[in-house]
Amino acid sequence: MAAADELAFHEFEEASNLLAETPDAVTTSGSGQLTPQGHVAVAVDSGGSYGAEEEVEESDKTALLQEKQQPGFWTFGYYQSFFDVDTCQVLDRIKGSLLPRPGHNFVRHRLRNRPDLYGPFWICATLAFVLAVTGNLTLVLAQRRDPSIHYSPQFHKVTVAGVTIYCYVWLVPLALWGFLRWRKRVRERVGPYTFLETVCVYGYSLFVFIPTVVLWLIPVPWLQWLFGALALALSAASLVFALWPVVREDTRLVAAVLLSTVVLLHALLATGCKFYFFQPLPLEPLAPPPQATSLPLNLLPPPTPRSQVT
């Protein structure tokens, strides 16, 4: 029995040491979560009852950890903690958002409670610029088919794209986070996501639209709608799978309404971008009739509005 007790004692000691050490790995990113600190508190309690000197050491260590991981929001270190990612981690998160799996929660498995701001910020910037550039390119293609279309760089679309995408990735997660926190009292088991984690989920889910927008250059309408639907399905699936564990404890009605609102907003963004930035091309260029050029242009009705009705 003494041997078994000794074994049990050593196990708990190692486990409590490990638990006290893992906060180093989890919380120095400064995500400001409540749950890791909760784990640390539990470890101190269980470890402290097995030795007076260890209790003092571990409580000192956890006190230091808790002081270290909360730099004020006016310091540079606070913001640096949101960019504490490596290249391979960012690529891994992007892959996780591209291939959503029902069991795999994006936040718990990919982010591992360490959200970053690098991914959402630069994915949104890339998407905004790619939207404006490819939208302009479709105008170039349209002009080559129908020379009466006047080409212009349309620089204002960059501003519109940027403002739209950034507002979507910041305001919609804010509303979602607020709503989930308000419903927190209904859930016991799973805590809500922090605001940054919600922003991360939304930001990384927009990544699939970047290649889709480039593929929208192909001037075949049904193919464009197919690509759009695929991208929307992937993106909405990654959002829904990430939100499902938090929402499933709520009532059915609230869960259904919330998830359908999320998917609907996402679909609105996709179709809005498609219609605003990509005008439908005119039909196949008519064989350039020599007699058409002899007539002044303002006598002929412009061909483009009629061809847009497809």
Binding site: D86, T87, W122, P153, Q154, F155
Partner: protein, 236 residues
């Protein structure tokens, strides 16, 4: 030294006078005269420097700054692993380049407000806020380059794209057509690659090794946007 050793071995009071007498014997005042003013050499040097730049002609001042800017242009055009851009950073070069680029890219006032190319202010804002954003990004990722050094490097590496803009404007004076567009596309692509290579040569070393790609990608996006603005420029 034997005197000293003898003195050390007899530490008694009645030898105090002898101690000092011995010291005067071995003092080195006879060899090197320890007299004169004690001035700090740097202070007098700086005072001379200040008065010289105040008294020099304006042409000298301007030429010195222009030569520094020109030297950095050479470093950008032939990127080598040198520290000149980083050590003696200045923001004159980026300002000159940005203003030149914005002046050439702005649309004329007769254009419609909605559909044209960027205005002067838009180009200016894109260049400077883009550079500031990239610098903040690289500092947040843990790079050890200072704020203004990074701004300096990013601004100076716009030089190849400004040259591309000049070439494009010249090419646009000829007749329009697909060959015209191909020439402009080729020039812009070459200069874009040159900009990226130059800025990477200066900036990549200051990043932690497992985050280099994260810091370089925004630079790529920045120069891509500027190249796109140059390529789509249409004179009215």
């Amino acid at each position: 030294m034997s005197d000293l050793q003898r003195l050390m071995m007899e530490p008694t009071d009645h030898h105090a006078q002898a101690l000092f007498a011995g010291l005067s014997d071995i003092s080195i005042s006879q060899d090197i005269p320890v007299e004169g003013e004690i001035t700090i050499p740097m202070r007098s040097h700086i005072r001379e420097f200040d008065s010289s730049t105040l008294n020099e002609s304006v042409q000298n001042t301007i030429m010195r700054d222009l030569k520094a800017v020109g030297k950095k242009f050479m470093h950008v055009l032939y990127p080598r692993k040198s520290n000149t851009l980083l050590r003696d950073w200045d923001l004159w070069g980026p300002l000159i380049l940005c203003v030149t680029l914005a002046l050439m890219l702005q649309r004329s006032s007769v254009d419609s407000e909605k559909d044209g190319g960027p205005q002067f202010a838009e180009v200016f804002v894109i260049v400077w806020f883009g550079a500031v954003t990239i610098t903040l990004n690289s500092k947040l990722l843990g790079g050890n380059i200072s704020f203004f050094q990074s701004l300096c490097v990013l601004g100076y590496c716009i030089l190849p794209l400004t040259v591309a803009m000049l070439v494009c404007r010249l090419v646009l004076l000829a007749e329009q057509g697909p060959i015209n567009f191909m020439v402009r596309l080729f020039v812009v692509i070459v200069m874009f690659t040159w900009s990226i290579v130059a800025s990477t040569a200066f900036l990549a070393d200051s990043q932690p090794p497992n985050r280099k790609a994260l810091a370089i990608y925004p630079v790529f996006l920045f120069y891509f946007v500027i190249s796109w603005m140059i390529l789509t420029f249409t004179p009215q």
